[in-house]
Symmetry: C2
Subunit: 474 residues, 2 copies
Amino acid sequence: MNRATPNKFKAVASFAVVSMCVACTSFTDLGSTMSLAPKVILIIGDGMDDQQITIGRNYLVGHNGRLIVDDLPYRGSIQVQTLAEDDPSVPVYVGDSASGATAIATGVATSEGRIGTTANSDLDVANLMELADAAGFGTGIVTTSSVTDASPASFMAHIEYRYCDTPDAMERENTRMPQDSTSCGQDRVANGGLGSVVEQVATSKMDIVLGGGSDKFTVTVDGEPGTTVLEQAKSNGYTVIQHLADLDRLPAENRVLGLFSPGHLPVRSRGVNGAKAEYIDRVGDKVVWPEPFACEANPEFIGMPTLAAMTKAAIGRLNSDAGFMLMVEAASIDKEAHYWRPCGSIGEMEQLNEAVQVALDYAKSHPETLIIVTSDHGQSAHIIPEVSNLALQEFASRGRFARLLTPEGGIMGINYATNDSPLWEDHSGVQVPLYASGPGVEDLPRFLKQSDIFHIAATHLGLGVGQQHSDSRK
Amino acid sequence: MNRATPNKFKAVASFAVVSMCVACTSFTDLGSTMSLAPKVILIIGDGMDDQQITIGRNYLVGHNGRLIVDDLPYRGSIQVQTLAEDDPSVPVYVGDSASGATAIATGVATSEGRIGTTANSDLDVANLMELADAAGFGTGIVTTSSVTDASPASFMAHIEYRYCDTPDAMERENTRMPQDSTSCGQDRVANGGLGSVVEQVATSKMDIVLGGGSDKFTVTVDGEPGTTVLEQAKSNGYTVIQHLADLDRLPAENRVLGLFSPGHLPVRSRGVNGAKAEYIDRVGDKVVWPEPFACEANPEFIGMPTLAAMTKAAIGRLNSDAGFMLMVEAASIDKEAHYWRPCGSIGEMEQLNEAVQVALDYAKSHPETLIIVTSDHGQSAHIIPEVSNLALQEFASRGRFARLLTPEGGIMGINYATNDSPLWEDHSGVQVPLYASGPGVEDLPRFLKQSDIFHIAATHLGLGVGQQHSDSRK
C-alpha cells in the first residue's frame, strides 16, 4: 500500500459510499433497531456458483432434495467486480478470490490479486474486521484454507499482491498472474509498509482466527532475525492452537490463532481412490466414455476440525454482549474445482451447508444475527450430459470430464474445460448467489454488487462509514 | 401418447399434486382474493442460466448496469427436472427444452424429448393452456422460435418425441437423441393419436399463437390428402397473419396464428460480419488469442416483429374480463449458444428484457397480473478470462472461444466447451433463475422445482387441480 493522505482516503471513501451502496437505504436502521448488540456471520463459499450448488445438491441430498441454503428466506444474485490494474475505469469480467473478497470485505472493487488495496492507486481501504474491532465488536475468521490465503487475507491485510504472503515470497518477483508481476517492495516493513500477509495476520487485532497454514508462520519476521512470525503472533496476544481437541478449551481472554494444518486443510471427500476428471479417450473415431466413480471419505481429513466445528467454536468465543463480525469460508470448493476434483468440491459444499446450519442454530436464540452466504467468484465446473445428447457418439468434451455415480442411482457428468493447462482451471465471471437470513433481509434488493455486501454487514453492525477511516492502521 | 384410463390419469395427477407442489400452500388463495380475473404472463428464456444473464448484462448495460429482471421483487432458483425414459425413478441431471418446458407447462417431470407426456408410461398430462381454456381464460403463446418447437409445443401438444413435428417427420425414425429413437407411431392420427406437433398446434384452442415456422404448416395433414396443415388451422378458426404490420390489426374474434418466418425467427444481433466463437489457434507452444469482436444488428432481422411487439399484441388481444394465461419465449438464447454465437444470445436476452418491461407496464394498470420469468435449462456458454490468468501464455481453452468487445470498453471472454461436435454444444443441468412480480410473490419459497411453476400459475388462475383431467382432449 501507499501512505495515503487524508484527502486520498476521503476520495476512496466517497466512491465506496456514493457509487456502490445499492442496499444502504433499506438497511439504514437495522443496527439501531436491535435491542441486543448485532452480530454478522458472513459465510463465503469460494468459487460457489450455481453450478457448484447444483452439483452439491444432486450428490448430497439428491435431485429432489434441499440444501440448508435452499431454505434461507432471501436469495439474490451478486455481480462480481474486478477492475483493470492499469486503468481502473475499465472492467475486467472475471476476478479472483483477492479482488472478490476485497470487494466484500471493504466495499471497494479492485484488480485481481490485490488484498485490501485499490487498483493502480494502491491505497489501503479499511475492512469489516478493522471497522468492527474499532467499534468494540468481537471479530473472527474461520476458513478451510491457510489463514493467509486471499479470502481471509482480504479481511486482515492490505498488500499489493496476494502471493506476497511471507517475507521470503517478497524477496522474489511474483509472476503467477501476468498482470501483477511484483514483489510488493513498497509493502516491506523495511520500506515502511505493513509487511507480508502472514505478518499482517500475526499483528492483526482479531479475536479468533481458525484455519490452516502453520508453515507460513515458521518464517522469520522481516527485519527481526531470530523471531518467527509465530512468535510475533504470540507477542501480539495470540494463543496458538494446533489440535482439534483444543477447540473445546479455548482461552476466554487471549486472542486465538488456530493452525490445524501446514497448508490448506485437507478436504473431507475425494473420488474413490483419488479419482477425478480426466481428458476423455478416443479410440479412432469413437469416444471411450470414462468409468463412473463415486466419492469417499478422504483419509487425510482424519483429525481435522470440520468447518461446522470451527464455526461453532468461533461463535462460542465471540458470543458476548459486544456483538461480533465473523467470516466463515469453505475455501476448497474453488481449489478442488481448479484441480478437476468434483468430490473435493462436494465435500466442501457439505461443510458449508453444515456451517450454515450452525449459524442458523445460533440465530434461533440470537435473532439479532444477520447471516449472509455468498461467493467470491464463479468456477469452471459445468454439469453436462454424462453421455452426450448427440446421436453420433464420437463427440464429447475436449476438457476434463468426470462421470459421478450419485447415491440416488444417477450419473452426473461434470465438465472442466476452461483451460488445457496442467496447472489449473480458470475462474468464471458469472453472477454468484447471495443468500441471507436475519433482520431485514426481506427488504434487500434481489440484485446487488459484491461491494454492497460490505455495506449490508456494516449497516447491520451500525458501523458509520466515517469509521472506515478512523481505524488505527498507519 | 397412450389413451389413459381415468385411473391412470389419476395416478399421474396425484403424483403431480402430492409430490411436486412445494409452492401450493403459499399460493392457495391468490386467485380468489383478486377482484379482477387473474392473469399470468410466463416468460421463458430458453437456455437462460446465470451465465447468459451475466453475459447479457455486461454487454447490454455494462458491469455496473441493471437488467429489467434484476429489479423484479422476487428471485429464486429452480431445480431442473428430467427422468430416465427406461426407468423414471432414476434422475437425469441434464434435460432439454421438451422435458423442461413440459415440467413447467404440466407440473409433471418427464424424460428428454417428450412433449406433454410422461416418461416411459407415455400418458398425456394436461397443460396450463388447456386447463386455462377449459376454465374460460384467454390463452396465448409468443415465441421467437417456430411455434412447433419444443417449448411452445409443450404448452399445446402431447407427443412422444419433439422431432415428430410434422406428419412427414413421423414417417422416418428420429434418432437425434440416441435414447429416443422413435417415429412416434402411436401418435399418428391413423393410429388413433393426436398427430404431429404441427397438427396439434393447428387443432389447438389457443386464442393467439405468434412466432415462426410457416414451413411446417405447408405439409399435408395425415390421412387428408390435399389439405395442408395451414388449411386445417384455418378450419379450426385461426386467422393466419404473416407480416409485422398485421400485429396492429388483429381480428377481435377469431383465433390468431402469426407465422412471421419459414423457420425460427432470425435473431436481432450477430457478431460483426457473422463472427462467433472459434477454436483457439496455437503456433508452436504459443496461444494466438483470437481478435476481439463486437455485436451488430443482424440484417436478417429486418421486418421481423420484436418479442416485445408480439408480447404487446398478444396482451392486447387477450386483455379482457376473462383473465388469461400467456407464455412468452425468447427461444434463441439457447439456439445461438448451441452454435457458438454469443451476440445472437445477447440479442435474445435483450428481447426478453424488453418483453419483461412490456409485461410490467401492463401489470401497472392490471395488478392482478402475475409475471414469472424463468428458464427451461442451462446452456454451454461460460464467462472466463479473455486472456488466461495463467502466467505462462501457452494455455487456453480447448473449446470454442470468443473475445467480445463490450460497449463500455472491456473484453469479455466467452467459452463454449461442452462438446467438440460440429453440430452443437450440450445443455447444462445447473439450477436456473426464477424471477417473479405480482400478487403474493414475496411468499414464494426461494428454491423450487420446475414443476412448481405449473402450480404457481395454476393456483394464481384458480385452476383446481381436479380440472387437470376434465379438459376435452380425447
